[in-house]
Amino acid sequence: MRAVARSDGSHAIWTEASEGFVSEGGRLWFGMAISNAEGESAAKEGGGGRKRKRREEPSLAKWRTQGEQRTYSTKLVEALRRVRRSPPSGATATTDHARSRAVREAADRALAVAARGRTRWSRAILSGRTLKRRIRPSCFRPKPVGSSAAARAAAERGKPATLEKKARVLGRLVPGCRKLSLPTLLEEVSDYIAALEMQVRAMSAIADALSAASSAPAAEPM
């Protein structure tokens, strides 16, 4: 079924990949990511009959649109106002570090909301972000034990062990993607990178606007 002659070779892969996922009844990551590009609601888990003749690019291009960044910036500004009003720890001294961490978490949560729950990393962020920081130290201990078995298994499958190791490192960097297969992981990673880039752009714009607004003496007292 792979011998579908297309001018764009990668397109054929994506089409069949999503069909394969659909017909397996497994997770529809490819299908959902691609159908998102068309603007349809990707809530349907069993859309097996749909033709997946779509480009894979629009699912990433949405992170570059002005509209998306504007929506994200607005949400982030509102979240920042809430951060300012309620100091995180409630203790006597709201340390700068605690506040910047609260800002970072608010920004990440807003980013995950912007993804509209269609990717694993966004759902992992929304469903309990603190776990990532706390569990990480303990995760290092079982790693040496399991990695040799995983390396052997990977070598059996023809994938070099170093590749597997690097993929695991990458999986740890993206929230919620520790135990994914390589194709799924790469899909999540590309979406995550596009989202992070938008986050950086939006936060830079807000910071610049804030510093400009605060330094200008024409701010109206409200």
Binding site: S10, V77, R85, D96, L163, L173, I206
Partner: protein
């Protein structure tokens, strides 16, 4: 399910061809910075993964720095509604 026999079905969770991985890596490499510097002939999987890890780490660092900057700006002055309107208009 973990058999390595070639099956008629292309994409199963146990049989992932190198070609598919290569395609995914090429696509990933395209979004990394300095993509225009690389030749499009071969993609070294380890290098792409390593570059991706480094890029994600640098993006995380940037977000952390921006969070610090924003928190400092917030500490000095709250975002009142006038400034929020200013910000929104600047972002438009």
């Amino acid at each position: 399910m973990s058999s390595r026999r070639s099956r008629s079905r292309q994409m199963s969770s146990s049989r992932i061809t190198d070609e598919q991985i290569n395609d995914l890596l090429t696509k990933l490499q395209a979004v990394l910075p300095e993509a225009h510097l690389r030749s499009t002939d071969r993609v070294s999987a380890a290098k792409v993964l390593q570059d991706t890890c480094n890029y994600i780490r640098s993006l995380h660092r940037e977000v952390d720095d921006l969070s610090e900057r924003l928190s400092e700006l917030l500490a000095n002055n709250d975002i009142n509604s006038a400034q929020a309107a200013i910000i929104r208009s600047l972002l438009r």
